[in-house]
């Protein structure tokens, strides 16, 4: 995983609440067996006028300049709700989004993003409103998200955000989560040994 330390990019304000993972990446694109190439289908049904995705919808913000080069996504409450599909962060990442800012995120989506090196910044509703207003008034303005200091800078203002120390470390170091867990292999082994004694019905021969 690519480490995430700090990022500055154009912010795209997506003014919709409850954006679900079906909207982020529709089901017809989930039949692949690798993780690549999902970016072209990101927000497919809003972004294209036809099912095949050959005609862009000029009204959708992603198809307008300068947002084609956006790397920071501004979103509303409950972003990433619905299905657990990790294809959603794969699509966002493949398109180029490195940071998503919203008042709240769905739980599974949050974890999926961390595993893919995307920083999710949760701010208070009023703060997100202010950043929306800034981005909408200053088309193409950039926003900076700095993970070590846990601060977002937009329009000369700074906003602090929370993140668990573990997720922060994983993102900054680009950690392989499995490698991290495997340092506790002895404890997993001990747990399994204990299980055989205490919950024999769970041990399948």
């Amino acid at each position: 995983m690519e480490p995430f330390v700090t990022h500055t990019g154009i912010a795209l304000p997506l003014n919709r609440v409850n954006v679900d993972t079906d909207a982020i990446i529709p089901k017809q694109f989930l039949r692949k067996i690798d993780r690549k190439g999902f970016g072209q289908h990101l927000f497919h049904e809003w972004r294209y006028l036809d099912y095949e995705g050959t005609k862009e919808n000029p009204d959708f913000i992603m198809n307008q300049e300068p947002y084609r080069k956006a790397t920071v996504l501004l979103a509303r409450d409950n972003f990433g709700c619905g299905s657990s599909r990790e294809h959603a962060p794969w699509a966002l990442d493949d398109f180029g989004f490195k940071v998503i800012i919203a008042p709240s995120f769905a739980d599974i989506f949050y974890n999926n993003c961390v595993k893919n090196g995307i920083l999710l910044v949760q701010l208070k509703s009023a703060e997100v409103d202010a950043i929306f207003e800034f981005a909408e008034k200053n088309k193409g303005a950039t926003i900076t998200a700095d993970l070590p200091s846990q601060k977002v800078s937009a329009g000369g203002k700074k906003y602090s955000f929370d993140i668990s120390p573990f997720n922060k470390e994983c993102l900054i170091k680009g950690l392989d989560g499995i490698g991290w867990t495997l340092q506790f292999s002895d404890r997993i082994q001990d747990f399994e040994t204990k299980l055989q004694q205490t919950k024999s019905w769970l041990v399948r021969k």
């Binding site: 003014n15 599974i108 867990t181 299980l195």
Partner: protein
């Protein structure tokens, strides 16, 4: 101080306890399917890692199987590729697979309980958000992404932050015509689709205790639609009776040991939850969604709301967008909304009781002209039992299509999809834009209400039948 059921199960599975940060919890049961697992296995191969406990992992094909045919050569090529990939992965890593041709194949959240794999006190995960279903047995069950699927395969554990706890108490008797589906839709309407974010919900109270296991599964299933990763219900005699004798259920001395353990699981008296919500069962009328989010729901005797009536500007915009997509006008009676398609099935409402209840509604009647209605059993076993009870005949005689098991039109990843502008009365769980097919319009409701809609050609109040 007493402990909640969630805390008991959580504490019992801690491999590494980090009070304030990420812990490692052991996973007792891992369910996988063809759509969210291929990249996990590919990564295992790349990193030369093995599956730590292949016997704790079970696989099925459900999301993109065809429910029209058992001939795999007729299935669309990329879907077939995912199914073939799952077969190869299961063979290589030694995982039990209920494949397309297996007579017990079915939706992952239907076959887990049906096979006796799902047990109280367990931690259960699957690369699917409706894994919350299994919480109906008093287990901690939740959906995960593909990287986490890989993590569980390699380590049989997960890194988790401890969620908060919410208790939803539903006391009293459910009115005639209302079902488990109405309970959960009502709750989502009350707390919103993000109301449960960060929480594990325990459903309790006399109205919950009175429910069968299948009804309890319907409620826990849609916890994710309220934003909660997991929902759970305390195990009791109804739970134990359901499990006893199932293929993978504990037997003999193990059964007695298991029961003794399971009886210690329910939340202690005096246990504290981070949030408590009390609901009167008698307030819950049959529910139906009008919008594109499961929280956009009203009683079936209600009307399409006016977006201007929402005080929160974000909700107002969401309602406007939803009505524009759903082609509905504020003030329209829900029972005046005409439908084109009916879908009865899914991990929410594709079990025996659902099919029995729907069959009861349609027996001796006919599907309205111009309406296409399909019944998709949740598993091969459900299908077989339904045939044994003659339900297939009842549905077919009434003009329904009778299908093989699978996820079918719940998510439209297969050959069952709504066309643009088609309106569906659906017993499934999500009414998102395009969920059942690009441009498709979904109204969520219980299976009986979906069945009666098929007969009348419009959304119909089951109580008026």
């Amino acid at each position: 101080m007493g402990m909640t059921m969630f805390e008991k199960i959580w504490n019992d599975h801690l491999v590494r306890d980090s009070q304030r940060d990420t812990s490692i919890i052991y996973i007792d049961l891992h369910l996988i399917h063809e759509v969210t697992s291929p990249q996990a296995f590919a990564a295992l191969r790349e990193t030369k890692r093995l599956v730590r406990q292949p016997k704790n992992t079970f696989a099925t094909m459900d999301h993109n199987v065809s429910t029209r045919t058992k001939d795999i050569t007729k299935v669309e090529a990329s879907s077939r590729n995912q199914m073939d990939t799952l077969s190869r992965n299961c063979q290589e890593f030694g995982i039990k697979l209920y494949d397309f041709e297996n007579e017990d194949q079915g939706i992952v959240h239907v076959i887990g309980p049906e096979q006796g794999l799902t047990l109280p006190g367990m931690t259960i995960v699957c690369g699917d958000s409706h894994t919350a279903t299994h919480g109906a047995f008093g287990s901690l069950a939740f959906g995960i992404g593909t990287s986490e699927v890989e993590h569980v395969l390699a380590t049989q554990t997960l890194q988790q932050n401890k969620p908060k706890t919410m208790l939803i108490n539903i006391e009293g008797q459910l009115p005639k015509g209302s079902t488990a589906k109405d309970i959960i839709l009502y709750i989502i309407g009350k707390i919103g689709t993000a109301g449960g974010t960060g929480y594990v919900i325990e459903y309790a109270g006399s109205a919950i205790r009175a429910l069968s296991m299948e009804a309890r599964m319907t409620i826990c299933n849609m916890s994710i639609e309220a934003g909660a990763r997991a929902g759970m219900i305390a195990p009791d005699d109804i739970t134990f009776e359901y499990i006893q004798g199932k293929d993978f259920a504990p037997k003999g001395a193990d059964w007695n040991k298991a029961i003794a353990n399971w009886k210690t699981l329910p939340s202690d008296k005096g246990a504290t939850f981070d949030l408590v919500l009390n609901i009167k069962a008698e307030d819950i009328k049959p529910q139906v969604t009008w919008g594109t989010s499961p929280g956009q729901v009203v009683s079936v005797d209600g009307v399409v709301p006016d977006p201007e009536s929402f005080t929160n500007p974000v909700d107002r915009t969401a309602a406007r967008n939803a009505l524009s997509y759903m082609q509905l006008t504020p003030g329209t009676k829900m029972t005046d909304v005409k439908i084109d398609k009916v879908f009865i099935g899914s991990c929410t409402n594709g079990r025996m009781e659902d099919l029995r209840a729907a069959a009861q509604v349609v027996i001796g009647k006919r599907v309205a002209p111009g309406v296409t209605a399909i019944v998709v059993p949740g598993s091969g076993r459900v299908r077989k039992q339904a045939i044994k009870e003659g339900l297939d005949k009842i549905f077919i005689d009434a003009g329904f299509e009778w299908r093989y098991a699978g996820c079918s039109m719940c998510l439209g990843m297969n050959d069952d999809q709504l066309k643009k502008g088609e309106r569906c009365a659906s017993s499934s769980n999500r009414n998102f834009e395009g969920r059942q097919g690009p441009g498709g319009l979904t109204h969520l409701m219980g299976p009986e209400m979906a069945a009666v809609a098929a007969l009348t050609g419009k959304i119909t109040d089951i109580r008026k039948l």
